[in-house]
Structure formats: structure tokens, C-alpha cells
Symmetry: C2
Subunit: 302 residues, 2 copies
Amino acid sequence: MPNLEARQIFQLPPLQAIRVFEAVARHLSFTKAAEELGMTQAAASYQIKLLEERVGAPLFLRQPKQIVLTEAGQRLAPAVSEAFALLSGAYAAARSGADGVLYVSTLLTFASNWLARHLGSFQVAHPSLAVRLDTSNRVVDFAREDIDIAIRSGGGTWPGVEVHKLFNADFTPVLSPKLAASIGGVKEPADLLRLPILDPGDIWWRDWFAAAGLPVEELAKRPGSSMGAQAYEANAAIAGQGVAIVTRALFNAELADGRLIQPFDLVGDDGHAYWLVYPQARRNVPKIRAFRDWILAEIARQ
Amino acid sequence: MPNLEARQIFQLPPLQAIRVFEAVARHLSFTKAAEELGMTQAAASYQIKLLEERVGAPLFLRQPKQIVLTEAGQRLAPAVSEAFALLSGAYAAARSGADGVLYVSTLLTFASNWLARHLGSFQVAHPSLAVRLDTSNRVVDFAREDIDIAIRSGGGTWPGVEVHKLFNADFTPVLSPKLAASIGGVKEPADLLRLPILDPGDIWWRDWFAAAGLPVEELAKRPGSSMGAQAYEANAAIAGQGVAIVTRALFNAELADGRLIQPFDLVGDDGHAYWLVYPQARRNVPKIRAFRDWILAEIARQ
DNA sequence: ATTCGGCATAAGGCCTCCTTATGGGCCGTG
DNA sequence: CACGGCCCATAAGGAGGCCTTATGCCGAAT
């Protein structure tokens, strides 16, 4: 394609030259301006000459001791300064303004059972960073949604994103102590068959049954009511309505204070895990680093 | 010198990228923006990516049918548009505004005896061009003074400037018919010795006396009162106060209407001339071309 | 299902823009 | 008055920013 930018070129000045002009007009010195811009005096001279040729008139009068603006230069200088002030202001705002809000896309269960409990310490550590949660189970596309960082579960293989494993998405049955007591305690896997199974259609149940040596076909007979999220089923379990199969890491608190008990050491693991992910290109963005460092440290503490 | 522009770089965005961003934000399309800027879509994509990396956040969400601004983009776009509007406005003003006034540095005599009589026709031809005369006999330095074009006399060899010869700075004695009649007419050069010589110290008188075969030492005896400009001496001559030595081209009107007469065909010429000069680099500036073309045509008409 | 519109990416080359080196003009000082 | 210092201009040379061409991918619409 031929270079057809002619029209543009006459509407807008060469921007690099304008930047130099702004500095020179401010200092009324090529040398000082060049210093400020981190370039040589010759480069500043070159750019000003360029701009003067484009404008069609000299912008500075070269006088012995110092330079002064010509009439054309005086016309140009104030507006240029103002324009640059605007630009740098907006640029700074876009940089740091965006740093003030962190958009996190997170899975339902993780949000309610992990984030909700720990986010407080992040806020304390980063009081100027507001976190906004986008809670849903879809896999967000960073190119299409305004999301900085996400929690996902799965195999940990997504293209173009940086991934950090948070914990394995293992699974094991849990229930309330009261429910267990109602049948005289849950001592061996087969005891579970005497209790309601929450979301028996979940593939985890089948895997765990198989691993525990229980008849998988039992599951199919059960009334299938899936609530769609571990958090809901766990709440049902806490309420004593049945046995749920959950990832322990998400229920540390309930298991610790006895609202839920894990009757068996047998833990299923299909290789999936919970991951922290964000675009590779943004790995050094301060707010993203802050959140990553915090969450990894928090996970490690458990 | 190491490239130390780091500080700058973080204060101001890459300007070329900003220019592209402005267009993309306006069109909400990489392709259309690239078209407007006279470049390829790939180039626009490249610049936006660059800017996004600098800002540290995506500026656009790439959605199937069209792109939309992210929050960071929305923060940036209005200010950028405004800044560019400012810039292009000021740039245009500096370009055309400077075109509206033509600064002419001119010699005293030329101003009063030639320009003053002809400038009217230039104004008629270029009503939007205001001419400002800077009348003095020094040689202006275009780099140091806010001057577009100048009239100089001399050898015609100045560096860095474009020169056009207007007419030779020849010289010959002139006087009022009345003064000539007062001694019964001026018929041969020696007759002049019976009349007052205006500015006898002028080197032109010596040259002309020598050429006319008159005794040069006569000049030294005369009371020397130099008024410093042909125009003044010519006025004195018109008033009948003596004989002045002047360049004919500057007194065409007086010679034509009889206020002055040129008694002898003998004309001195030291090789000097009147020149139109202006910086070579500005030879294509419209207002300079306009003035040059006009003055050369006007001179040729005589 | 295929095509089309739109953006992303890779590879390669040009040309802008910067650097180094040098010179000139003017001013202050010894 | 000469010399050194400061500042800008200019020339030559080189690196890299930026653009182009070519191609791929994705989603939408025919």
C-alpha cells in the first residue's frame, strides 16, 4: 500500500518534534531541553528544525545568549503545553486509576468459601486497591472482558495465561456430626449408603465410590438433585440433610470447628486443581502482582 | 551518552501510539482507524498493543462484532481527543496565522521611495496578507530576528539566503531644475562645483567626480553634512538646497515629473545593487513566494 | 458449510531519529 | 586582545522503531 498519510501529516504536526518543542519552549534552551528529554542537543536541534520546516516558519530566534520564541512559536507554545499536560494527566490516570481497582473473576464456591474469608487480609495489606468480584463459573476471556485475574478449576492448561496452582481439587465425603451420629457413626464407606447423598449424579461420587469399593450403581438409584455448587451442597450437609462430596481446602473452617466431619481418609483426585490465572503479558502489573503474591502466600499458610 | 529517557517515558505515553489510539477510539475499529491514518490494520494493532503494555492494562475489549473501550480506555480517550484537538488547532494557527503577516526588513530609502509607492498593488493582489515593514539599514539576521524577507543593498553575496537582484545601485547627481537655472543651467560636470554638494563625504561623489574628470579634492573642502539616507538628501535637492547623488531607480517619479533633473548621462556604478533576500529554506513559503513574485514583476514593469 | 469481516501475529525492511564529531558565533575573563 | 566556555548548527553514520506483507484465527451471517 502506498503511504497515503499526506492528509494527516498536514493536520497534525510530527509528534516527537512537538514534544521536543514543548520542552525547548519551556526551558528556552535546546541544551536544557535535550537534557530533560534524555537526548543530545543535536537531536533537539534536529527536531526543532524539522518542526520549523513543517510549520513553515521559524519558531525560535537564535540570539547570542538565549533563544526566544517567534510570533509563530508564541502561538504554538501555550496550546502545546496544555495538550501535553492533558495527555500526561490522562495517561497517569489510566495507569494508576486502573491500578486502583482489581477485577477478579472467580468461581462461585471459591468466592464464598475461600475468598470471602481471606479477602479481608488483602484489603488490610492494600487499602488503596478495591477488589471487585465477578462471580460465575464460566471461563472468562481476558481479551473480551474487563477482568484482571481469575480463579479457575481444571487441568491448568490454558494458552496465553500465567497459571499458579492454588490447591488440588480433591474430593471426599463430608457430613454433619449429628447426621453421622444418627446412624450410630460413620465407620466404613458402606455406612454412607444408609444416608442421603447430596447430588449423587456428581462424577466425583462415582470416582470416590469406585475408589472406596462401593457399588457405583447405587448412585443412579438415588434421587438426583444437583444444586450446582459445592457451597450449596456443603450448606445442606452442614444442615444435616445428607452427605456431600467436596474439596477439603474449601471447607477448612467447617472441618476445623466440627460443623462438618470427614469420615474417611480416602480422598479422590482427578488431577484437577484450582488455579490462579492472568494474562502473561500483564504479569508485572503491580496490582496483579500484589494479588498473586498475597493469594499464594495465604494458600501456603494453610 | 546512555539513553536516560526512562523518567520521561513513564510520564508521557508513546506519542505515535497515542495518535493511533485516538483514531481507534473514535472509530471503535482498528481497520477504519488505520485507513484514516493511511496505514495498515496490522500497524494499528501493533501500536495499540504497545500502548496497552505501557499503560499496563488493555484499552479495548476485542469482541466479535466490534471493539469497546475498557474502563482504562474510557479514562484515556476523552482527554486524548481533547489534547489532539488542541494540538491540531494550535498547529494550524501557527501555520496559517504566520501566513497572514509578512515581515519585511527594508532599507530606509527603498521603503520611502519605492515600496511606499508600489505596496498598494501588492495589498490589492493579496488582501489577506498584512505587510509589516521593519525599516532600518542594518543587515538583519534571519535567524535572530522575526523577519520573513528583506531588501538589502550590497554585492549580493550572503550565505544561506536566496537573492534576487532588483536593480543596480548606480548613482548620478540630481538637482532641482530651479537650482540648475539659478546658475544658468548645468551643462558640464564642472558646473556642479558652483553649487552646494549634499553629503560631499559620500564615496559615491568621489567615484563620480573621478569618472567625470572633476578634482576629487574639491569634495574635501565642502562642509560635510551627511543626512545618512538618499531619501533625505533627495528631498533637500528637490527643495533646491543642493545637488544630491542618488540611485535613479529610486527616484523615477521625481525624475519623470521634473522635480529633479539628471543633468548628465554619466552614471556611476560600483557593482552594488539592491537585492531581495530571504532564507533559502523558506523559499517555498507561500507568503514569501507571493511577495517575491510580486516585487520582481513590479520591478520588471518599470 | 462456507465465506466474509475483523483482529492478531510473524518476518522483514525502510527510514526516522538519535549519536558522535565538529565548527562557528558570541561572551566573559585573564 | 586572545583564549576558553557556552550554545546552537550541521554532517555522517548507525540502530531500532514502525510499517508492510502475508497468514492465521475466530465468529457471524449467508
